[in-house]
């Protein structure tokens, strides 16, 4: 944005957005190739997408070697953004693996599905490194528009297009709030760069306009992460959207939006942070867990659980930055691992037309398919927060960060909520292990791609629970590099 700088991008500028470039190239190549291939073997484009996401992982490593600002201070590559890039691209790869089986079972031959997943991932990864509100807005829309379409991908199923419509209408409504917030912030500080805004808000008296701007931006972003009281769309959309897509949109875009929120709250010195976060975190945890208690549909149950988890994660936002931000980053990673895994199992089990998504359908899964039951159990235990799983360490660090910042009330509320949450996750486990199998629910063998996806999520969940040190160290160093 500065006219004084040379207006020609340097080679390092491109290296700093290399993962986005790789993902875009593959995404567009798939979009172009799809109509040209006539008798295409169903997996060609999916395999191409998987290759693209793996190359993007490698590109993330390249990008990490060139920390710094790119494109006139619009993009900032640091350990923080690399962490989220890695997370988002890894989730993308795993979701592509889970989609192979689903697309075959549902008879969806459209290759643009994979293209849209990659293009959505472009927006999400860009969000985690963008430090310019207008670029963040663009990235947010790239990711949102792709997920609106993905949510309606079972086009012939009425509930899928309904989910897509609800997601689209409420999502664009939220985007408009975010944009208006950006406009007010621009009015208050004369800039849309998070750095400049941060300097302006910490140096002189905070103008009333900045409060309004932050509040509106927060409303928009809270919608996207499904935090209460902006969570109404979540259960409906998660129920109607294809299961692998739900696994994707409940983790990757959420992680990206949390990255934006972290930049906004801590680098832009958002005024009134603690009060705002306190209320939203408390509401999300409580409403999410209470809502989940009465659900019979596994996808709706996991939707309410994702609202509650957004609440736990937000607790870290109210804490002091040095312990809060690493806790939030770790939580985002471990939530992604366990939730993608849980949705992989749900997607495999649901069968053609997503017929088996009720909790009763899982009756006796332990005898018809002990391995599948055991895998789902690990993910559910991790969602509860049982030790040796990632979910436990994540909750532990979030709550201890909050305690260090004297947020005792919020921590008590969070722990009480975790106890309530144990009930509904355990209910699924009890149904799987204690009930007689229902003969009419077929359990097919797990295909290779799906098996790999489950294995990766399982390994990540256990790794984060048993050896969290490296990831936590990395997150801590990222924050030290970013803020000091």
């Amino acid at each position: 944005m500065n006219g004084s700088l040379a207006m020609v991008p340097q080679a390092t500028d491109y290296l700093r957005v290399l993962p986005e470039i790789v993902l875009s190239i593959f995404g567009m190549a798939i979009m172009f190739a799809d109509p040209l291939l006539k008798e295409r073997p169903p997996r060609t484009l999916g395999t191409l997408a998987l290759l693209g996401s793996l190359l993007a992982l490698a590109a993330t490593w390249v990008q990490a070697q060139y920390p710094g600002f790119a494109f006139w201070n619009m993009v900032r590559v640091d350990a923080f953004s690399v962490f989220f890039h890695f997370l988002i691209v890894a989730v993308t790869a795993v979701v592509i693996l889970t989609s192979f089986e689903y697309m075959e079972v549902e008879g969806i031959r459209a290759g643009e599905y994979y293209g849209l997943i990659l293009l959505g991932a472009v927006g999400m990864s860009l969000m985690s490194s963008a430090v310019e509100l207008v670029l963040i807005f663009l990235a947010l829309e790239i990711s949102s528009i792709a997920t609106y379409i993905l949510a309606g991908f079972r086009r012939r199923a009425a509930i899928s297009s309904e989910a897509s419509l609800k997601y689209f209408l409420l999502g664009s409504f939220a985007t408009a709030f975010f944009l208006y917030g950006v406009a007010l912030m621009f009015g208050a500080t004369g800039s849309t760069s998070i750095q400049v805004i941060g300097a302006a808000l910490s140096s002189f008296e905070v103008p009333a306009l900045a409060y309004a701007g932050i509040a509106l931006m927060f409303v928009g972003l809270a919608f996207k992460v499904a935090a209460a009281p902006f969570h109404i769309w979540t259960p409906d959309v998660y129920e109607g959207a294809p299961a692998p897509v739900v696994g994707f949109m409940s983790t990757a875009p959420k992680a990206a939006v949390f990255a934006v929120l972290l930049r906004l709250m801590f680098e832009a010195h958002a005024p009134g942070r603690i009060g705002l976060i306190w209320v939203v975190a408390a509401l999300s945890m409580t409403l999410g867990n209470l809502g989940a208690l009465v659900q019979n549909n596994v996808k709706r149950l996991l939707a309410y659980s994702s609202i509650a988890h957004a609440g736990y994660l937000l607790v870290a936002f109210a804490a002091v930055p040095d312990s809060g931000i690493p806790a939030a980053m770790f939580y985002a990673a471990s939530y992604a691992a366990m939730n993608v895994g849980a949705f992989a199992v749900v997607s495999h089990f649901s069968n053609a037309g997503e017929r088996y998504v009720k909790i009763e359908d899982y009756s006796g899964l332990s005898s018809s398919s002990p391995l599948l039951a055991a895998i789902l159990t690990v993910f559910l235990l991790s969602l509860i927060g049982i030790p040796i799983t990632g979910g436990f360490i994540a909750k532990f660090y979030v709550f201890s960060a909050a305690l260090q910042s004297n947020l005792v009330g919020l921590v008590i509320l969070g722990v009480l909520n975790s106890a309530v949450a144990a009930y509904y996750y355990l209910r699924v486990i009890v149904v799987m292990y204690m009930r007689e199998p229902r003969g009419e629910v077929p359990v097919s063998a797990v295909p290779a791609g799906m098996g790999a996806a489950m294995a990766v999520s399982l390994a990540a969940t256990i790794y984060l629970g048993v050896l969290p040190g490296r990831v936590l160290d990395y997150a801590g160093r990222a924050v030290a590099e970013w803020l000091h």
Binding site: M1, V134, F137, L138, E141, I145, Y148, I149, G152, R155, R156, A157, A158, I159, S161, E162, A163, S164, L165, K166, F168, L169, S172, F173, T175, A176, F177, L179, Y180, V182, A183, L184, F186, G187, G190, S191, T192, I232, P235, D236, E239, G240
Partner: protein, 100 residues
């Protein structure tokens, strides 16, 4: 010269009209138009603040927003057509297979 506050009041009113329209209208197309109204309210603020701060960037952002709004419209209308094909209605109250 028209003072900044007039533009801001107008843009706030446009935005508020959009919010109210979104909440009370029942036809999907009208709801969608209300969202566009909200985006235009934000655009007007951008332009007004750009003049206030003598920063051209604010006006350039408006172009980005218009492009995004167009992309959103393309996808939105496609979704609305998909809904109309499966439900044969454009009333949001009748698009109710998923309980709220």
């Amino acid at each position: 010269m028209v003072p900044l506050s007039c533009y801001l009041v107008l843009s706030g009113t446009l935005f508020a009209c959009g919010v109210v329209g979104f909440l009370i209208k029942r036809n999907i197309i009208t709801i969608f138009m209300s969202i566009e109204l909200m985006l235009n309210g934000a655009n007007l603020s951008f332009v007004a603040f750009a003049a206030q701060w003598k920063a051209l960037s604010g006006q350039i952002f408006v172009f980005f927003v218009m492009v995004v709004a167009a992309a959103e419209a393309a996808v939105g209308l496609a979704i609305i057509i998909a809904i109309f094909r499966t439900r044969e209605t454009l009333n949001v109250d009748r698009v109710n297979l998923l309980k709220l």
